[in-house]
Amino acid sequence: DAGVTQSPTHLIKTRGQQVTLRCSPKSGHDTVSWYQQALGQGPQFIFQYYEEEERQRGNFPDRFSGHQFPNYSSELNVNALLLGDSALYLCASSEQHRGVMELFFGEGSRLTVL
């Protein structure tokens, strides 16, 4: 059973460009969350998708947008890249049940903005 998979693993962009990151959730999971992790810091919640809609959003500008497809996979798009967008972008999937707060994370996409 494949866990959460993300692509690409590494990428380099220049300021002003746009980037799309992709995520396939763990089999059976219908909820996808995206996090940004700057070097040496904890992951920061960007947004969460459920039933192809953005259900929650953290304190990130509109330059950050996303999408969830019918097969539950998801994309994160960032427009007009800034140097400060350089970070590890993590995707996490979960099931809609209560009792255990177990998010399953992918290994992330490392974005460098020059």
Partner: protein
């Protein structure tokens, strides 16, 4: 506002000793507190969680303690092994925010063989 933070940024322990990683939180309305482990080059991995109406929960070699009076959370690792070397994050969640998890800044645990 919501925040979760850690007292110690780094911790070194001898192999076989017990480790204690501490965390302070400010949002008393949280329903769950969770510990994650992140090894170098990997995403965070769930270790254990505890509901806000509990004060202790045990897993395999790990115990989480919750003291709501002083808003303090700790993770105890018994018989620490080299494979336990990683960054540990405490995190919190409110049931009304579904699976949105707020992470603290992390503690780096280094196990000395």
């Amino acid at each position: 506002g919501e925040s979760v933070g850690l007292h110690l940024p780094t911790l070194s322990v001898q192999e076989g000793d017990n480790s204690i990683i501490n965390c302070a939180y400010s949002n008393s309305a949280s329903d769950y507190f969770i510990w994650y482990k992140q090894e170098s080059g990997k995403g965070p991995q769930f270790i254990i969680d505890i509901r806000s109406n509990m004060d202790k929960r045990q897993g395999q070699r790990v115990t989480v303690l919750l003291n709501k009076t002083v808003k303090h959370l700790s993770l105890q690792i018994a018989a620490t092994q080299p494979g336990d070397s990683a960054v540990y994050f405490c995190a919190e969640n409110k049931e009304t925010s579904y699976d949105k998890v707020i992470f603290g800044p992390g503690t780096s645990l280094s196990v000395i063989p």
